[in-house]
Structures are given as structure tokens and as C-alpha cells.
């Protein structure tokens, strides 16, 4: 599986995502510029965290107009795996690939720490190596992570099993239904505020994110 890590102006977790996939998981992965007009030859897309365009309007709002996004949307519609963490999640919602929106944290502050999560749905192509309702810990680092959607959308997300990760102890940002990560209805697009790519090496003190990438790279037998 060949993966593209998209680099927007202001992306800054691109290295982290690349290293997690390439160095830690041995995946076939390449950086791709936001100016690229083709993703031909790629089987999946990884959108990193950071502050695309400084987050100067709303997080992710300007990035969605980058040339490469047309191709990201094409791949997403074709069912290829598309993953966005943090600013990547924000971009995916702004681009309409995921429902809802991410508001400023209730605290009005940036927050960086490790939080407890529940793997709500372990039946996705991103999470099948976790056990059902497993508790994991992942770092978060964001100022705009409070997931918001209207009630009908929330109900739908819950009913369809699109809520993949939920904050399990403290809700760090005011997210509705404690949502930390969701997929689209088809299940091939995952957006999450926590950073699994920061938790893939024992030297950094946490490997709970590793199985997300392993899940992606080794499709379950059932797939």
C-alpha cells in the first residue's frame, strides 16, 4: 500500500506521521505537496496535524482549497483510506469529507497532554487491531478540538458506528458526546483529534497508537 502524507503550508506533524509510517511501520510512504494535482499511484492519504495557513481563519478552512484536495476527495469517494489527525481532522470536516465541525476548546486554550480514550468501534479498517471498548492513552495537542454537529448528525454518527474514539475520562475540549474521532458513513475516512503518530515508540513512553497504523497497513482477514 502506497501512502501520501500531504504537506500544507503550516503543516507541522508531517514528519511525525511520515516517521511513524516509514521508520516505525516500514510502510511505503511519501510526502506530497499541497500543490500536487495528482495522487495517481497512491492507495491512501494521510493528512497531518499542524497549523495549515496559520489556522488564521478557522482551523483547516483555507487548506481545503489547496489543489491536492480535489484528488484527496476523489480518492475518498473511491473508497481509499483517508486519515486525518488534529489539523488533518479539521481539514477533512471543512472539506466535507467528514460531518460536523471543530470548535475552539471550551477552555479557550491550547491543550497538550495525554488523555484516556475508548476505542468505541474496533470494526474499522483503522482500528481492527484494537479490542472492543479497549482503553488506550494518546496525546492531544490542539486549540480547536471541540467536536460539534447538530443533533440529527450526532444521532446518525452514533447509530452508524461512526464514532470510533471517545474521551474516556476527562473531556479536554467540550466535544459533544465526548467524541474524539469519527469516520464517514462508508468507514474509509477517519478523522481524530488525538495523535496516534506520537505514540508509536517505547522510547517516547507510549505505543498505544501503533495498532492504528498496523490496522491500516494489514487489512483484517474479514476485509
Amino acid at each position: 500500500m502506497r501512502l501520501a502524507v500531504i504537506v500544507f503550508p503550516g503543516s507541522n506533524c508531517d514528519l511525525d506521521l511520515y516517521e511513524a509510517l516509514h521508520t516505525v511501520c516500514g510502510a511505503d510512504v511519501e510526502y506530497v505537496s499541497h500543490k500536487a494535482t495528482s495522487l495517481a499511484g497512491f492507495d491512501g492519504v494521510m493528512i497531518p496535524g499542524g497549523f495549515s495557513y496559520g489556522d488564521y481563519l478557522r482551523a483547516g478552512a483555507i487548506a481545503r482549497f489547496a489543489p491536492v484536495m480535489k484528488e484527496v476527495i476523489r480518492l475518498a469517494k473511491a473508497g481509499a483510506p483517508v486519515f486525518g489527525t488534529c489539523n488533518g481532522f479539521q481539514i477533512l470536516t471543512e472539506a466535507g469529507l467528514l460531518p460536523g465541525a471543530l470548535k475552539k476548546n471550551d477552555s479557550q486554550r491550547f491543550v497538550c497532554k495525554t488523555v484516556a480514550l475508548e476505542v468505541v468501534n474496533n470494526q474499522t479498517r483503522f482500528t481492527h487491531q484494537y479490542t472492543a471498548h479497549e482503553r488506550i492513552n494518546l496525546p492531544i495537542a490542539h486549540a480547536d478540538g471541540s467536536f460539534y454537529a447538530d443533533q440529527a448528525t450526532l444521532d446518525q454518527l452514533e447509530a452508524n458506528g461512526q464514532v470510533v474514539f471517545r474521551y474516556a475520562e476527562e473531556n479536554p475540549n467540550g466535544s459533544l458526546n465526548n467524541i474524539a474521532g469519527i469516520t464517514n458513513a462508508a468507514g474509509n475516512v477517519l478523522g481524530m483529534m488525538p495523535h496516534p503518530e506520537r505514540a508509536v515508540e517505547a522510547i517516547l513512553g507510549n505505543t498505544d497508537g501503533l495498532r492504528l497504523f498496523k490496522s491500516l497497513l494489514t487489512p483484517a482477514a474479514a476485509d
Partner: protein, 81 residues
């Protein structure tokens, strides 16, 4: 020509910022304040020759300035100074 575009959260969206500011205002002794909401505005200046500014404003708001999942907007054409 200058247009001021006001963007706010939709009413149904909880905005703790307004509450926090209201509390701070009360702490300053202005008990008469019963509510505070916060928004942003964009003053967008158009070249004088621009045709159909209002259409452009709507397009810019729809595509870029407003996230309709949570926000809504109004605008107002400003007098030249």
C-alpha cells in the same frame, strides 16, 4: 467599496466565551449586563470597478468565511469614509 461581514456561532451552538466575558464584566461591577455574545467580522474592501459586490460577498462567505455547520453570517455595506 467596503463590506463588513459578521460571523457568529449559530444560536444552538454553545459558546463558553460569551459566558466567561459576562462573568468578567460582572466581576468589574456592571451587574446590568444580562448577556454577551462574541463574533468576528471581516472588513472586505473591493476595487471600485468590481461588478456585483454583493454576489461576491455571498460567494466569499459561503465558500470561505463561514462554516455553516456551526456559524451563520450577516453583512452590511459600509459608507466610504
Amino acid at each position: 467599496m467596503k463590506v463588513r461581514i459578521f460571523v457568529t456561532y449559530k444560536q444552538s451552538v454553545f459558546d463558553p466565551q460569551g459566558e466567561t466575558i459576562k462573568d468578567a464584566i460582572h466581576a468589574l461591577g456592571h451587574q446590568g449586563v444580562t448577556g454577551v455574545t462574541v463574533g468576528k467580522f471581516f472588513d472586505v474592501t473591493f476595487a471600485p470597478e468590481t461588478a456585483d459586490v454583493e454576489a461576491a460577498v455571498q460567494a466569499i462567505a459561503d465558500q470561505l468565511l463561514v462554516n455553516f455547520n456551526m456559524e451563520t453570517y450577516t453583512y452590511q455595506v459600509m459608507e466610504e469614509k
